[in-house]
């Protein structure tokens, strides 16, 4: 749906291009993370999709069309946009903020009202409580939720999110990330998500594009980025606990083996990550523990051998 073809953005004052000959196909209905240190060109790249920044050369396509051929306001109204610090309008109520793109698109008022209520429900804010509030009456986490609801308002197929969970405490951030994943599983939007936080990238991304000094260094599934970093930069960027991060991305269900006995000293649900299973193994001192299904029945086991085996299996 979104593709970059040899896109370069050069500013006159800078010695190197902000974005340098970038070619990438953003897959549909997935979360693609753009990540890199500051100055890597990740935000610039994202903003070229809705033409907040125009490329110096190359073509950005949306649904096959060169974005420069589209009317700029129509283009932007068709793309959900959420940014760091949220950018809510302080003089408008939550209702008006969430309904702003439908309003720009001249939806009839009753349709906007209904849509805003649905969206507030979706992001976990009670419509009757939050509808008439002003942004200064919201906590950081609530404001971020409103920001996400606003981006989704006109049901755009594409969402651009620039560190949308950047300005909240770690606990709230974890919750927002979990809810975002749930919403995304239901809505299946094509999401371009900018962050500098590798843990957020690994948690939310279906694909991760790692950028450095305007260039694309690696574009891969999260598992592959961890298992096969393209170079020392990526491996440094992913950090020192690569092995543990890799365990976080694998589910117990994928490695558990069926066993004859159901008699284990401890167990983990099969939806748990391997990292959680390993923690349980270390806590209990057992070399192998049970795996349970959603209703709590033991359906197999997972042990240290499975963890080692997971690392020996190639990631595809």
């Amino acid at each position: 749906m979104i593709s970059f073809e040899h896109v370069t953005k050069r500013y006159e004052v800078a010695e190197r291009p902000a974005v340098d000959d970038l070619t990438i196909d953003v897959p549909d209905a997935m979360v693609t993370i753009l990540i890199g240190p500051s100055g890597s060109g990740k935000s610039t790249t994202m903003r070229m999709v809705n033409r907040l920044i125009e490329p110096t050369s190359g073509v950005v396509r949306l649904g096959g069309a060169d974005v420069r051929d589209l009317d700029v306001e129509d283009l932007r109204r068709g793309i959900g946009y959420a940014i760091q610090g949220v950018g809510l309008f302080p003089h408008w109520t939550v209702h008006e903020n969430v309904g702003v793109v439908p309003w720009l698109l001249k939806w009839p008022q009753p349709k906007i009202d209904a849509r805003v209520r649905d969206l507030l429900d979706l992001v976990g804010l009670e419509p009757d409580v939050y509808d008439g509030k002003y942004p200064d009456e919201l906590s950081g986490g609530e404001a971020q939720r409103v920001g996400v609801a606003r981006a989704l308002a006109a049901d755009p197929p594409v969402l651009l999110m620039d560190e949308p969970f950047g300005a909240v405490d770690p606990l709230t951030r974890d919750r927002l990330q979990a809810e975002f994943t749930k919403i995304q599983q239901a809505l299946r939007k094509t999401v371009v998500f900018v962050t500098h936080d590798i843990d957020e990238a690994l948690k939310l991304g279906d694909r991760i594009a790692i950028m450095r000094e305007g260039r694309l260094v690696q574009f891969d599934k999260p598992e592959c980025v961890i298992a096969y970093p393209a170079d020392d930069f990526v491996s440094d960027f992913v950090g020192s606990e690569r092995a543990l991060k890799r365990l976080s991305l694998a589910r117990v269900a994928g490695v558990a083996s069926e066993t004859a006995t159901n008699d284990w000293a401890a167990s983990v649900p099969r939806s748990a990550t391997l990292r959680e299973a390993l923690a349980r193994i270390l806590e209990t001192g057992e070399r192998e523990i049970g795996v349970s299904d959603e209703s709590g029945n033991i359906i197999g086991s997972v042990g240290l051998e499975d963890v080692f085996a997971h690392f020996e299996r190639p990631v595809e």
Partner: protein
């Protein structure tokens, strides 16, 4: 935008305006007060009726303030747009220059061009009133957080919608503060217009000066000051209301 319009800040200036207006029509009131202050003076009141003088001043102030606000805000908006950014320095320099030019000189130079009376007065006052409005329009628009403007653009606001729905409302408190200064300056400077024959509350001041009638000068000065304070009170109330709204900026 659904918050109700608060009437309380407007109460005090409204009461003052009523008292002010009523005092103009009570026969003998001003004469008695000024007569008591200046028992030796034969002449304590200007010959023209006070309601007429106040009305003339209000017309001059309304015309020049409207022009000042229009020009000041128009230029302020223009130089903060991408296509007007090149003129930013020129406009602010020119407007500072206008402020430092002596008002009496502006009148003197304007009279041959615009004739006597209303027009040169409004012209001079407009020039004086532009700077506070212009300055505060630029400062107000500059104080709107870039993230908010960026998110408006990113969601598909046209440049005009961004200005009208986001930038100007959020800058309104600062802009109104500038308008307030401009109007108060206009009211007091408008008295100089009497030299050019514009009438208004400057007439008793000048007449008292020319004929050594201090009571008459005081009459004009009191009426001018009170009028300026009342208008200041109203605009202060409007500013207060606008501030209540853009105080939300800090939290967003």
């Amino acid at each position: 935008m659904t918050r109700t319009w608060p009437w309380r800040p407007f109460l005090a200036p409204t009461i003052a305006a009523i008292v002010y207006g009523a005092s103009l029509f009570v026969p003998g009131l001003w004469e008695a007060v000024l007569g008591a202050l200046f028992p030796d003076e034969v002449r304590v009141l200007y010959h023209a009726p006070m309601p007429l003088l106040v009305w003339q001043t209000l017309l001059i102030v309304a015309a020049s303030s409207a022009l000042s606000i229009g020009i000041g805000m128009g230029l302020g908006v223009f130089v903060t747009r991408p296509f007007g950014a090149d003129f930013f320095d020129v406009v602010t320099d020119l407007s500072n220059l206008g402020q430092t030019f002596p008002p009496i000189a502006v009148f003197t130079l304007a009279v041959p061009l615009l004739g006597f009376g209303f027009r040169p007065t409004v012209f001079a006052l407009t020039i004086y009133g532009v700077l506070p409005v212009l300055h505060n329009t630029i400062a107000g628009i500059g104080s709107v957080p870039p993230a908010i403007v960026e998110s408006a653009r990113g969601m598909g606001f046209t440049p005009g919608q961004t200005l009208r729905k986001v930038e100007l409302p959020l800058a309104s408190a600062v802009i109104i503060a500038g308008i307030r200064v401009s109007v108060v300056i206009n009211v007091s400077t408008s008295t100089i217009g009497a030299i050019a024959g514009a009438g208004g509350l400057g007439a008793p001041i000048i007449s008292g000066l020319a004929n050594s009638d201090p009571a008459v000068t005081l009459q004009g000065a009191l009426l001018t000051t009170a009028l300026a304070l009342i208008l200041d009170g109203y605009l202060g109330a409007v500013q207060h209301v606008a501030e209540g709204r853009s105080a939300q900026l800090d939290a967003a």
